[in-house]
Amino acid sequence: MSGAVLYNYDLDIDCYTVRMIAGCLGIALDLRQVDLYPGHKHLSPKMRALSPQGRLPVLVEDALVLTQPLAIILHLAETRCPDHPLLPQDAITGARMLDWMTFAAREMGVAAEARATAMLDAPGDLAALKDRAKRAFRLLDDHLTLQGFDGLGFVAGPEVTLADLMLFAPFALSRDFGLDHDAFPALRLWARRVRATPGFSTMPGIPDER
């Protein structure tokens, strides 16, 4: 297996999530910077050949090209460090993790879109995206509230998993598109716990609280 190349833009939420999780897993990535804003180089013919949708990040490993964060994260974890504690070893917790990773990709993905619309000149209806992001945050806040009564601090169980790390940035960076954290008390407490994951790193816009 040769090295994994990640086409990356530092200020993009999905790129940050993949970099941060790779760091927590102890995986070194060969980063290739793409000038997404203001250069719009993610839409260049070269990048379109890799990612026809024009999405970042893109992972390239030999002949394998992956363009969805969920697939990139699972592939890296399962091939490089299948025994890592961020990957639950029992099937039930693993299924819960996958459920919330899919929620991160779909429902919480709206927050990444809203932020890109507000900050990076991406097309989109900001008010509608913000409202959908708020609804996703509420579902997550409801879930973590109930988890808390059972003494479970994370979305899939008592320990942090890849799902929590994937859900983190859309929430942490939501003020960039005008959604405050006031109304999500369970998420504020959970985000603090997620930050304590060994290997966790921040990006611009996420204050380093340590």
């Binding site: 409801d142 509230t145 109930l146 009564f149 059972d150 003494g151 003020r175 405050d180 954290h181 006031d182 109304a183 999500f184 008390p185 369970a186 504020r188 407490l189 603090r192 204050p207 609280e209």
Partner: protein, 219 residues
Amino acid sequence: MTINGWFPLALSGSIPPGIPAGAIVKGTEIVVWRDQAGEAHAWEDRCPHRGMKMSFGVVRGDHIACLYHGWQYGPDGQCRKIPAHPDLDVPRSICVKTYGAAEAGGMIWAGLGAPGDAPVLPEATGVRSLYVDVPLNTALAALPSAFDAGGMTARGPVVTLDTRWGTLRIGLQEIGEAQCALHVTAAGNPGAEARAGIARAATRLRDSVESGTDTGVAA
């Protein structure tokens, strides 16, 4: 609705040392935070430097630092340090506006205006805060049926309900004309199942009043 000028803002357990939060009372923006010694503070949510929100800031030890340029404020609201000018003796005039802060009944309260004595309430366990996009009166009217309560009494911003989970005391926070928060607490120390039942009833209340359907959640 107030007790002597005091307004509930959050459950005590939602504000640990180190994580500031924003809270709005009828349009007044407040930052709530707790220092390392455990004392709660309620200030105007506005940094005197350029007016950014203090609730975006970071709490370290007994001070809170603004996220934007790192100005640091002590528990009295006085600016103590300006990182860009480390040798400067910071003028006394640079000061965040502070409000009264108190804890009662499992909630943190802010005293606005010229508040009287802080409220005194029985000990309670915080269950959850619920943020609802309807006028406070709409949420209030739905409370008894949402919790299948035998009776409801009110004292200022605190309503007391008799329910199958025992006595619930709920702090009412009017955020704006069409937004409110309900800080739900329970008397004594209810178990996990009871707290989950209360939280689920609260969530159903939110979803039904927002969609304008009958609460009908007593089952």
